[in-house]
Chain length 320, copies 2
């Protein structure tokens, strides 16, 4: 069985994993540990736990338990002191307290949710994502970076503090992989934070696996304004030290105009400017979503289709 | 397979169910819905859910899932906004929100925890326990009644408001039972609240099942001060309308003096003053417990032994 490793965090990861879950592959999800917003941020601050949010999303994506159980994990309380917290985040934090380690917490949660494959936090260190902008402003925490409108003015550095060590399960998974999928997802908040962990880039260099980059559908103003595929690649290469990608998957379908209009204040479509053999252009556009209660997805009305995405990824896997 | 129905709520129920779980009987736990203290009270107030606390304890008692899963359900957060809430309470409340009914929430939680038998809330109505004392003081809510030191001065009435209808699953379970076990547990806060629900006493009258009363080990000052077995029976008969008990199980073993001394401010041993054939006197004393994180048990250093209790109950069952 072919081994596929997916690197990211957040909704982008969720869509890839949910699609690939239906196929006969050995799946590992490597998840960024930089999340500091919303429920996750509060749990980190108040309980001193590692950030559960992105891990929860991956666990739910890979879960073979009932639809009810998956809804339960993503359910967010609306009132009172629990308001804003999702059940899955609460469960992971409690499991970390009960077992004494986040690693065991993720493992046990995977058992409770009957997941297919593995969810592997990129590091077990308690870290915070920081960014220093060209104007010397310091952005502290993933949440602040996610909301910044100034990143496109240039930044001096993006780093994790304290500098974390890679989880050894991550290097093992990367080493044994047949295909490594990076993206889609927030470039500075979900994807690159994985590459900032000591040992990850080296492991990617040493791995014999083919590497696939799934390009985002949309730019976000103030973050990746005006980015084309080449710009995304260039940003990744800055952190990867060299261009490692064997395949680049780009969507070709334009969303309906009214949806693009809805996004007009937030971002624009990513145009392709790379004409190379490794670029695969396909219809990857998801169904037009209504408001959803799933994390962040409500903000992503234009998103990848998990089935179409998985189908294209499996074409690559089957040719390996 | 013999059908055993256990009626109560709180820690007393927990001990009986945990013991009986190991035997080959068809178990149903009928649970009081009057709890309004601590985490349960906050969840009721803030989320408008039915009280999860006693149900959670019964689910955990009957659970065949891992020890870790059971610890997780009883785990209480120590800090922040989640402080004081147990994971099981949070889970039940979220399940009620996601499924839209407490009945389905309990059913699904039972599935998640691989429980043996059934946990049946005595009513699905949102109720509050109230007591009017002889001095006309009104005690509102189970928590206030639990803490009162004046009940032994006499009370005019104990009732649920609004007057609730019995859960039909309760009458069915009582009707089909071979043995019904009432107690041990807080007389006014865990046991009698079940009898205050419309239809429960009638169902008990009509049931062919043998009825067993398990007498508490200790009195609580201000509540059942000076009570002997006959006083417990008389209180129950007040609500049951007649003495329905075929068996009365009384502990004979005195706890070590230093433990009785620890309790001296809180209560005293219950003495037996009923000499009838239906009274079974046995060693039911539990191991000397250290502080435990389980609900209320830390307050019950002198408690029943679940194994000894179940053994005595099974002697009755096997002779039916």
């Amino acid at each position: 069985m072919k081994k596929v490793v997916v690197i990211g965090g957040g909704t982008g990861n969720f869509v890839v994993l949910r699609g690939l879950k239906k196929y006969d592959v050995d799946l590992s999800a490597i998840v960024s540990m930089a999340d500091s917003g919303g429920s996750t941020g509060i749990l980190r601050d108040e309980l001193g736990v590692l950030p559960p949010g992105d891990v929860r999303q991956c666990l739910v994506a890979l879960s073979n338990s009932s639809r009810l159980m998956r809804s339960l994990m993503n359910y967010r309380f609306e009132n009172g002191n629990l308001g804003g917290h999702s059940v899955g985040n609460i469960l992971l934090s409690a499991l970390e307290k009960v077992t004494g380690s986040f690693e065991r917490a993720v493992e046990e949660a995977g058992r409770i949710l009957f997941i297919k494959g593995k969810v592997i936090p990129v590091t077990m260190n308690q870290v915070h994502l920081k960014m220093i902008l060209n104007n010397r402003k310091l952005l502290e925490g993933e949440a602040e970076i996610y909301l910044s409108q100034e990143i496109d003015q240039g930044y001096k550095s993006l780093y994790l503090e304290p500098f974390p060590k890679v989880n050894p399960l991550v290097t093992a998974a990367i080493k044994q992989a047949d295909l490594i999928v990076i993206g889609p997802g927030g470039l500075y908040t979900s994807i690159i934070p994985n590459l900032l962990v000591e040992g990850v880039v080296e492991a990617l260099h040493n791995s014999q696996a083919k590497k696939l980059f799934v390009v985002n559908l949309m730019n976000r103003f103030g973050q990746t304004s005006g980015f084309k595929v080449k710009d995304y690649l260039a940003e990744l290469v800055k952190f990867l030290e060299k261009d490692l990608f064997d395949f680049i998957l780009v969507n070709k379908t334009r969303p309906p105009k009214h949806l693009i209009d809805v996004y007009a204040e937030e971002g624009e479509l990513v145009e392709n400017d790379v004409e190379e053999e490794r670029v695969i252009i396909a219809d990857l556009l998801g169904p037009i979503a209504k408001k959803s209660s799933e994390d962040r997805i409500k903000r992503n009305l234009i998103r990848h289709d998990s089935k179409k995405l998985a189908k294209e990824i499996m074409k690559i896997v089957n040719n390996l």
